[in-house]
Symmetry: C2
DNA sequence: TTGAAAGCGCTAACAT
DNA sequence: ATGTTAGCGCTTTCAA
């Protein structure tokens, strides 16, 4: 069933049918009604491929997700989809591995589907001019900025929390409760990404409090998986026995680490306190409930869409949004006497 | 940058380029190399719209996910994607709400994107002939069958666990450890879906053990959210104080319920034992670790793809796969003396 | 207000 | 082994 069939059944030309379907004004009411009626009758559905082919662009917006399995992303994506739909666009989700290049993947997605814009969820932090040049549509980085790259503020958009500041805030919560022997559980200290930024916040907080950085308390996991977070925590426990608190850079890592502490004979928070960043629902249900900094999930999904659509429709230029994270008091942090 | 540009740069015709791009055998190695080199050089990406338009069908397979947010689905989807890619097809994921009609959504997806087949993840259990008639491509139901519908075995494919049997198995674990006052936490006793089937398994196990069904211990939540599972468990605790075990029909519900028990002054497993079905990674890290029946995530993702592709390629007809679930011993079930 | 016709980029006959 | 060419279904000038 094509537009041609509809045209024949209505006794009009294909262009008239096309006009009706695309809500063009210059069609007589009589013809419009007739066409819509037939369309309804035969359950006609336009062929998207043909539509997109002839149009310079589709009305699609791509979401490139780097590192699925991240529970926080799984919370944000549905919000984004909804927001995109609401703005009259169609979301195109594409998941890639952490090792893959999201700019390449994004560029391919844009080209092969004539996307109008791109949201990059969880990408790298170190783009330079040549790299973003491959993207010839507006784009917004979500959950990360360009802290390790050479871009000017006017060259890209992003929606993030202030990773360094919030990590510092988390560690300061621990320090405020009397902790000085504070371990950190992170992906890597030098991944030019979230992990590195939060590591800096950790260092900063210690420094300001006059606590010397103890490298033996810095435990890398190599990724964001619970499995490796568990193993890393066990490793740290074998090596050291003198820390009273742990800052994990993600909720899921913290939960796995809490289990590792338990298996290592340590109680949370009596022996070791735990704090993290994310605020996934699950971390509020465990015992003890995780004390964590909540990322604003709703805004994290909606803001990038708003910004992107504004750029697409020429209403605004690149902009940067820093979202606040809020401490959610749980039961995993103890006040040291 | 189109196939024509590539052809010109290589000094060959468009069909030759097309052949190279589609891995046709009858192209000389020299020409093939040259074309691929240029393609690489200019970062040429084929236009999918044009491709799909000219082909009667795309090589796409749709996955309609009903009820995102289900942690188990989030585990299965990546496996499916990978399997689809590996078979040489492209996955098209579409999420819908629990209230939406997955058959309608699927049919639309198929038509507008010329899909070759459809996987329905977490749909309804009660299709009849007219309803599936709207689907004119092969399809496979995943995680559910047609237990409440009127379809013949030869009319549809499915990959599931035996919900009733496995639920019964879970409850029998509790009974085997001396429990007789066993509560159940479920979405609904009559949703014509997973929840109802597992409820039947619960009833069956009690009956076989000579335990009378106590309707006061049947607690509905109305959905699969942790929030409502928590509230429901609190409600049950207010009403009853005499049960020694709970069977939750999903891991996530069990975790929320364990928190509710804790907040209600009950210890797991000392005061109340807990068992569930799913086996999501998280439930192994909490304290106490959840005893649960693990659904085989890998097979649950791969089998539907295998079956669907076989049908698409005419190698097989509809078939039904019942996957086994295995008890994962945790620490949430206590043996009653 | 309507119709005719030219492509959009690609694949697959068909021809060579 | 390679080139030529006819569409796939649709939107959009341009003409009427």
């Amino acid at each position: 069933m094509t537009i041609k069939d509809i045209a024949e059944r209505c006794g009009v030309s294909v262009s008239t049918v096309s006009r009706v379907l695309n809500h063009h004004p210059d069609v007589s009411q009589a013809v419009r009604d007739r066409v819509l009626q037939v369309v309804e009758e035969v359950h006609y559905v336009p062929n998207n491929s043909a539509r997109d082919l002839v149009k310079a662009q589709s009305d699609d917006i791509g979401i490139v997700v780097r590192g699925a399995g991240n529970p926080f992303f799984m919370e944000v994506i549905p919000v984004m989809e909804q927001a995109i739909l609401q703005k009259g666009y169609t979301p195109w989700i594409h998941q890639i591995n952490t090792e893959d290049d999201e700019l390449r993947a994004g560029a391919e997605l844009v080209r092969s589907n004539k996307l109008k814009g791109l949201i990059l969820l969880g990408g790298r932090f170190d783009y330079d001019d040549t790299q973003i040049a491959v993207l010839d549509v507006p784009f917004v980085c979500c959950t990360y900025g360009n802290s390790f790259g050479k871009l000017k503020e006017t060259q890209y958009s992003c929606v993030t929390i202030d990773d360094m500041k919030e990590a510092k805030k988390a560690v300061e919560v621990l320090i405020g409760k009397g902790h000085t022997k504070i371990a950190i559980l992170l992906d890597s200290t030098c991944d030019s990404s979230i992990s590195e930024l939060r590591y800096r916040g950790y260092c900063e907080a210690l420094k300001e409090a006059g606590i010397e950085l103890d490298e033996g308390l810095v435990q890398e996991t190599g990724n964001f998986s619970m499995e490796d977070a568990y193993a890393a925590m066990r490793k740290l426990l074998l090596r050291r026995n003198d820390f009273t608190a742990v800052f994990a850079i993600a909720d899921s890592m913290a939960l796995a680490a809490m289990r590792a502490l338990h298996d290592g004979g340590k109680q949370v928070p009596m022996d070791v306190s735990m704090i993290a960043i994310d605020g996934i629902p699950m971390s509020g249900y465990v015992v003890p409930a995780l004390t964590t900094l909540i990322q604003p999930r709703k805004e994290m999904g909606e803001e990038p869409v708003r910004i992107l659509v504004d750029m697409i429709e020429g209403k605004a230029n690149h902009c940067h949004v820093i979202l606040p994270a809020a401490v959610r008091e749980g039961e995993s942090v103890r006040t040291l006497k």
